[in-house]
Structure formats: structure tokens, C-alpha cells
Symmetry: C2
Subunit: 235 residues, 2 copies
Amino acid sequence: MADPVKIQTPREQARIRTVEQIIRLGREHLALHGAAALSLRAVARELGVVSSAVYRYVESRDELLTLLLIDAYGELGDAADAAVESLPAGDHWGRFAALARAVRKWALAEPARYALLFGSPVPGYQAPAERTTGPGTRVVISLMRILDAAYRAGKLAPPDAAVVPALAADLEAIRTELDLAVPDALLARGALAWTSVFGAISFEVFGQYGADTFSARDELFEHHLRILAGVAGLE
Amino acid sequence: MADPVKIQTPREQARIRTVEQIIRLGREHLALHGAAALSLRAVARELGVVSSAVYRYVESRDELLTLLLIDAYGELGDAADAAVESLPAGDHWGRFAALARAVRKWALAEPARYALLFGSPVPGYQAPAERTTGPGTRVVISLMRILDAAYRAGKLAPPDAAVVPALAADLEAIRTELDLAVPDALLARGALAWTSVFGAISFEVFGQYGADTFSARDELFEHHLRILAGVAGLE
DNA sequence: ACACAATTGCGAGCACTGCTCTTGACACAG
DNA sequence: CTGTGTCAAGAGCAGTGCTCGCAATTGTGT
């Protein structure tokens, strides 16, 4: 009833259900064996169907990868949003930390899907920007909105020296695009906090810390969080 | 003459030359098509030899990947060391920046090889720790030594509050391992600077910034560098 | 209710991958 | 010069993505 074009023939319904099943199986395979090892034939096998039949529903392996990419972005975005909105809008530091913790938690629970989103690009695969930028920018926009709210509430530390002109142009474009109020220097610091959070998470997920360099990883992340919040001007 | 066991039969010499040639071709393929698409058969074709012959020199595809991993770590480490040593030991901020810039420059010039080192792990491949940790930790150790030198020279900002005990144990292990003097809080901040630098570089190399979000990327990186140096206590 | 047409599944087939094994040729040392 | 050890070749196995023609099923308009 929510859908204005609700005339769905049984065929269309069955088709949609099959595509959803393919995505579900693909997601499992992705989580277990990684993106580059995602096999359409394996999905077909598990679906109880011959490999060529899957091509009736999914154009190609890359198309399936795109579907899984959007699926993962959506799940990560939902998790982040839920974590952020579980705290009052005025708790800027809390929301910042909750966002970062939610991303880390999801990344550690779904390393292969996190790798698909933020790891090295899958060779021979180029994500179609028009379908993935929307879902893919949810988290960073959420972060920027938290910083913006803090700034508007006068809770963000005053900006230091102005940034160089070349950078100011980029920042101005972002500010108008998202309708923000944060000045250049703080926006740039927000961007740094953003990349740094993902840097820390990526190092942990991708095993760069080594087996026994850091054993207290929760504490390490919390420590980083506190300092990065300070870098962004929070607290 | 440097080698004590210099007795090399012509056979051994030829063998070593062939292995070097395989690594060279593998490096080219890696740079062009990415790690997951690295094909032993393609290397064999380019070597003008049938695929099975390559197995006489390289145990498996994973073995070749390990060789290329060590090769890349070595090149990155050399580039970083050269950049660091081009500046006087007393110029701590300069050495820190030079190290970071060298890593970024190498990463942008060799995105696929950078991805092999710091991106998502190649599915089904596990790097042998005993052969890769040595070359793989050169850069971070270099960074820590720069911070240590700054601390010993009294040029590092005084540490803030003590870190939590669980983290202190990890940091103590690192300090004794590398024979450092830097106190806990500053060591933890150094680790954060380290992951943050790689976070920024990874975002750029892996295309997370989007096509036109940031056009002044050099300036953005320099901005991040200045702030991260401050985070680490430098300047 | 029925016949038509759209949709779907199947299986063969192509070109590719990593890897193994047998076979035959070669070079080098005693 | 003979024997040993090294090497390249090629067939073959199991897997991959993807295409295409054919047959069967299934939904729909008459």
C-alpha cells in the first residue's frame, strides 16, 4: 500500500524474492570467503540451480558485487544511525564516540564486508558511483552533522589559523552541499578525525597490529577516540 | 665477495636470475592488475615459458605473493629511510613529515602494491609472519625512533594523563622491545599518529574521497600532517 | 478453459585460473 | 662417457565467469 505502483504480478514477486535470496547467499559467501572469491557458481549451487540460471536475475558478478556493496553500506549506515540517535542531540561527544564505536563494532563483526567498502578495491571492479555514493556517504555525513550541531551550539573549540586557499575551496563546496555552518579549519579537522577513525579500524580489521603488539584493543581505540574528538574540537 | 658461501655453480646463478625475473614480472603484473588477479600463468607467458615450468622456481602462487610482499615492504622501507635520513637527526618534525610524505608518495605511485601491504587481505592468502614482520615493521619503527629521539632531546610536549593499565602493559612491551624512552601517553599518541597517517593515505589511494570531494589533496595531507605532528607531541 | 507468449531453467561450451604429474631432453660432474 | 640431477613441456583435474540454444514451465489475455 505504501508503493504507488503496487501492481505486482506473481512473476514479479517471485523474481524479487529470488533476487533477495541471491543477495542473502552472496552476503554469506562474501562474509566467509571475501569479495575477490565471491563466486556466482557457488551461489547458484547453494540456490539449488545451475549457474547460468542466476544470470536471469543478476547481470554479472560485478552487478552482484554492487548489490552487496549497497547492502553493506546500508547496514553500516543503519547501525551508525541507530547508535547516534540513541543519545540526545546535545551530547555531541557521546554521539561522536557512539558513531565511531558502531562503525568499529560492525567492521570487526563483518571484516570481509568492511574490506569491500573500505579496503583495497576489488581488481577489475569499479563501483558505479551513481548507485553507491548515496549509501556510501551516510556515515561521514552523519559525523559532519554531529560536528555541525556542536558548532552551532557553541560547543566546538574555536578554530585555529585559516587553511590554505586551495583547501578552502573544497571545504566551501562541502559546506554548501551539506548546508553546514562549521568554519574551514574545523571542517578540515573533522575530515582528519574521520580518516583517522577509519585508519585505526582498518589497521585492526586488516591485521596490521600484528598478533600480539596490542592486546588491549578496546582500550586503545577508546584512547584514540578521546584524542581524535579533541582534534575535531569536541569536548 | 660479501657472501661467505660464494661457491655458486652456473646452475645456481641461472636459477637466481630466473627467480629475479619472475619477481620482476610479478611486480609489473601486480602493479597493473592488482594482487588478487596475480596470475602465475600470465607471468609464465610473459617469461616465454609454459606455466608448469614456473613451479620449478616458485613453490606456489602464494609463495610468489610472499616474495612480492617482502619486495614491496623493502622498497617502501628504503624510500622512507632515504627521506628520513635526508634531514638532520635533530629536525624531528621535518623527519616525521618526510617519512609520512615518502609513504604517501610511494603509495600513490604504487597503489596496487600499497593495497597488498595495507589493504584488505588477499582472500585465501595468509602472509608468513616469520618472513614478513621484519620488513613490514620498518616504517613504524622508524617513526617511533623519530619520536623517541625528540623525547630524549626534550622536544616532545609533556604527556597528559596516564593511560589505562591494560594499555600500559602493551606499551611497556613495545618500549622494551625497541629500547625506547618515550612514556606511555606519548607512545600511544605516536601510535595514533601512525594509524592516522595510513588512514589518510588509504582513503586517498583507495578512492574513498570520491572523484571531486577534495581536489587539493596535497594541501589536505599537509594540513593533516601538521595536526598529527601536534597530536604526537611534536613541533 | 485454452492457447499463446513470456519467463525460466538446463546443459553444453569457450576461455581462463592454480596446480599436479608424467615424460622427455638437457647440462654438468665424476 | 656415463650417470645424476635439473628443467621444460604438455596433458589433465577442478574450479571460475559468461554465452547461447533448446525445452519446459508458468502466467495471462482471449
